[in-house]
């Protein structure tokens, strides 16, 4: 990247970082009515959203679109391996569409209803959405998906489906696992300095998912230790292979938590429910991303951290607005965004 490109990107990232809504601010929004949430979002993000039509799906579309606009700006100075990594990381958004499509077709949901749940990713989309929606049965859709950039991921999902049926969590986890493996492999094509900084941010994410999956596989699905370990993804910052193998042999959630390395043991010491653990781990990994965005000098890792934080912001805001729009209780909305954890 040229010197001018670095200055440009650094400035852009600083501006965008200052417009992110923090978790604490989001939790504070739960007590507000929709109108005040909208005005707060406008004010904090300094963006012109059209909130007059408060349909949550359309607002969700706007939130995603603005995020994509910003990613498009960030991607400009990158080239080569960095650009490919950045592009692939943005696929994190498209995985949501992939899951909606697979779940929808396997559950026999009408194409129009599936379409309403999809996010329009514009030029970032690699999926032939229209053709996928027009498929008549799930296997036809899988065959079509196998010809796309997600072919490898879908083959794993197909195997998981054939082994365990249409289990929502297992299917999602399989798709996420394959994505992380591919993303991790792309860090190999980065310059060593970039790879190291990006690895730190990615590591927090991998720890979070590995721990959550391990707990679910072992104690919810009661899979064997070996299979539970096998279904995990690449290792992250603190939870290395040896740790995960050791944890997989444990007989209870409490034993696993007690055997965790720091800081996870302390973080989860008083958390009993696996769903709450998921939230705590997510907040922790987002905290690491926020640190990278604000403190690290490396532009690629800062951009990657920004994608993670912005994705979480969009997701939480969507949940909050949808909850408010549907008239849900504040406690329920709080649970949806993990305010109680």
């Amino acid at each position: 990247m040229s010197g001018f490109g670095s200055v440009y990107l650094g400035t852009r990232l600083s501006v965008l970082a200052s417009r992110l809504i923090s978790i604490e601010q989001l939790i504070g929004f739960i007590q507000l009515d929709l109108e005040r949430i909208f005005s707060q979002v406008q004010q904090l993000t300094d963006r012109d959203y059209e909130f007059e039509d408060s349909n949550p799906d359309r607002i969700g579309g706007q939130l995603t679109n603005r995020a994509l606009d910003d990613f498009q700006v960030l991607i400009r100075p990158f080239s080569g391996g960095e650009r490919r990594f950045f592009n692939f990381a943005i696929r994190w958004f498209e995985l949501a569409n992939l899951k909606v499509l697979i779940r929808g077709k396997f559950n026999g949901i009408e194409s129009r209803a599936i379409e309403e749940q999809l996010i329009d990713l514009r030029s970032f989309s690699d999926l032939p959405v229209r053709r996928l929606l027009d498929t008549d049965d799930p296997y036809e859709m899988l065959r079509l998906l196998e010809t796309t950039a997600y072919g490898g991921i879908v083959r794993h999902a197909r195997r998981m489906y054939e082994e365990h049926g249409n289990d929502l969590f297992l299917l999602d986890a399989t798709i996420d696992r394959s994505f992380f493996i591919d993303l991790y492999q792309r860090t190999r094509f980065l310059r060593s300095a970039d790879a190291s900084h990006v690895g730190q941010v990615l590591g927090g994410l991998l720890d979070r998912f590995n721990l959550l999956w391990l707990l679910r596989y072992r104690f919810t699905y009661e899979l064997s230790a070996a299979k539970s370990f096998y279904l995990l993804t690449k290792t992250g910052n603190r939870l290395h292979s040896a740790d995960l193998m050791r944890l997989a042999r444990m007989d209870s959630v409490e034993d696993v938590v007690a055997a965790l390395p720091e800081p996870y043991r302390q973080l989860l010491a008083n958390v009993k429910d696996v769903s709450d653990m998921e939230t705590v781990m997510e907040y922790h990994s987002l905290g690491l991303a926020a640190q990278a965005l604000h403190r690290r000098p490396n532009l690629l890792s800062r951009s990657f951290a920004y994608i993670l934080l912005r994705e979480a912001e969009v997701r939480y805001l969507q949940a909050l607005i949808k909850g408010k729009w549907l008239g849900f209780d504040n406690d329920l909305i709080g649970q949806a965004i993990g305010a109680g954890a």
Partner: protein
Amino acid sequence: MLPTPLPMKKANLYMVDADAQAAAITLARLAVMHPLAEGDGDQALEDYPAASYFDVYHDLNSRFGKVSPFVKFPFDDAATSAGIVTLLQLQDLDRQVKELWAQVSSMEERMRRQNEKISAVRQLSNSLQKFTSLDLDLGRLRRQGRFLRIAVGTVPAGNFNQLKRALSLIHFMIKTFYSSEGIDHVVVFGPSQQREEVQDLLQSADFRGLTIPEEFSGNPVELQADLDRQIKQAQQRIEKMNRELSELMDENRVVLQSAHDALLLAQPYASLATVLRGKGGLVFLQGWVPAGRADEVRQRLQQDLEFPFHLSFADPEQREFDTVPSLLQPSWLLTPFQVLVKTFGMPGYREVDPSGLFALSYVIMFGMMFGDIGHGAVIACLSLLFRRRYPGVTIVGVLAGGSSILFGFVYGSLFGYEHIVPALWMSPMHDPVRVLLLAVLWGAGFILVANLLAIRNFIAAGEMHQAVYSGKGLAGLLFYVAAFYGAYQLLQNGRFGWHESLLVTLPMAVIVYFQWQQSSGGLVERVLVVFIEALEHIISNVSGTLSFLRVAAFSLNHIALAAAVFAIAGMLDSFGHGVTVVLGNIFIIVLEGAIVAIQCLRLEYYEGFSRFFGGKGRTFAPLKLET
């Protein structure tokens, strides 16, 4: 009179619901109406009567599109002269094609599994070949011991490390004895008590195990034969399914032909799903029709519709000019140039269609830059030779080649030789300064014409202030003429007096004042914007004019390249000389010809079109029968 896109009329058609499909087909056959999505008809007509029809059409079209690659027989297009397709007919066909597709899809899935099996068995076969070099009794694999379990097979290389660690948790080991194309050929062994757990884990890791038949005696050749037999069986199954698929298509030939015909006839009405509005049996369709064909539309609808209808035509209003579609005047000569114009953008409805001027100036500039009788003749002949294959290029090629021949006579150049044909004027090399000056004059004329067209387009759009005061308007034109005159006085007579200064300053002051009026924001911001825009206006005029120096530069370059070829040829014997001259000329025609063609296009787009032509017109897209 300058050419503009064809005049349009807004057609308002009220009819009964029962006639809507017939009207759609009639209009589609005429290919004469551009339906208006954001119409301004009666707001009480709030329903979209073609919406449900479109849904069924879309489903049928999608399914037919999926089935048709398996159809080996040709469809009969003559059958499409039949009448309208009702919603019920469409639904019935969709149901039949859906059932057919379910069978095809199921076969496809079974074929996919057979292909996957073939691939897995081939990997195992490969594995077995490597295994024969090991000193191991394969019979042991079938006779699993009481304490030891062994499995041989393949696993994707990406899964190996994680699988190895996972297996170690149940005291199993895995060893790779061969790796190829992302596949690891492995032996897995461990205590036999963990049989089910291992099986489950290996399945998750996409392990494909080598199965030892009961009758296996221990000879690897037998095992290889068994694998070959498995591959052959799978291939036979695929062949059988292909035959069944073909038979299935033949059995459903009538249904498929009906679906094909129905889709062609249903498409016009289905495409009106978001356009056609109605209520209580009355429907309303609005669209743009070329004014010259309005009567034909009325007559044909009178012939084809069963019930009375009301059709009125209205001229577009000024506020609608931006939304009226543009249809350029059809012309066999200008069609390829119109394609190049559309590449830049479609002229707006009231804008000048620049195709004619573009064709003329493009052809002239090509000849000026590539003037050679021989080279021009080659380009023209090749264009004629390939007229069937590239009909669009032929006209451009023949005209450009002809212009090249003409300027070849002017320059006295034949395949680079300057002494065979006497020059009607002179070779550019003899007086390069004069040629450069002429190029600048040509450029100035070109820019002036572009400026005049811009003024005309502003007036046509009702933007009188822009036409008079803006940099692209009259003020800009006067500034350009004054600046050119001033530059001429300075270069010719060495003076730039007060009246030249006044001539330049006055129009510029008008432009600056107009920009000031148009700008918004704070004082500093406005000053900056106006200053930068004024500067940009001056620079773009100067650079635009100088840009035409390339016309002269390329004409000189053409001769210089030929001279270089002759210089090289002169150093060789007679055979080498001949070959070099031929190859050199081919090189000049291909490489320089392509560069000149692109440079001419660049001058047209950036120094011409961008000055007068927004290119934001809407293309006339009529309702028509797809074939």
